[in-house]
Amino acid sequence: MTSDSRRSHPESAPRCLTYPFLGRISVRKEQIITFTPGLQGLGRFHRYVLIERPQEAPFLWLLSVAKPDLALAVMEPARLVADYQVQVSDALLKDLAARTPADLKVLVILTIPAGRPQEATANLLAPLLINLAAGRGKQVVLESQAYSQAHPLFPRLAGKEG
């Protein structure tokens, strides 16, 4: 199905997906984001939905459509680094069916070590670029060495570990 035909049927029937920890979530086809290629290390799962719930703000869930226990916590990088910038090439815009970089939502993936949430980090080196309208996404690796793959969310708390 092309993105155009998706847009012309905004009322497509929602499908209910059940997630072990989030419960039942109803997902419409046009909410699905396909990552091409898939996210490195996460195998053959390419289709995700972005779920924003008040109880987790400013964080969001990126959930696999096919594998309910595959979930990533994500956030907007500008909340961590005010001047965070991604250079988007024309080829990348084309891949994501976007006209301008403003069409793209930029998110970074969090790593939260089990039982040690104070050591949470964000992968600023490899952000996700998502064109929500077209349902396309890509994880890119920035050429700039300025950003870390493990930027601490709570530098003051992580420092106390000592």
Binding site: G41, A73, A114, P117, V141
Partner: protein
């Protein structure tokens, strides 16, 4: 491993859709140009390993840990605001 010798400006093809060109040689460094379809991952090997590792770890997030992160985040923001207010 297949080993080929190429000069600057020459390229090689991998399958029908991937082209690798040698652009420049500077001392011990070689600059390569790569044309590949969008579904092919092209990445420095060491970066790819780091990214795989980071994504795999990230995918193991526990919902209650995220909720703790949310409360730590809110607390930090409140403290930052208080510190900002102290500046006045």
């Amino acid at each position: 491993m297949l080993i080929l010798t190429r000069k600057i400006g020459e390229s090689l093809l991998i399958g029908d859709h991937i082209r690798v060109a040698v652009l420049e040689i500077r001392g011990k460094q070689v600059r390569l140009g790569i044309d590949a379809p969008p579904d092919i991952v092209v990445m420095r090997e060491e970066l790819s390993q780091r990214l795989r590792q980071e994504n795999t770890q990230a995918a193991g997030v526990k919902p209650h840990d995220l909720l703790t992160v949310v409360s730590l985040w809110k607390k930090e923001k409140e403290e930052e605001e208080e510190e900002d207010n102290d500046d006045f």
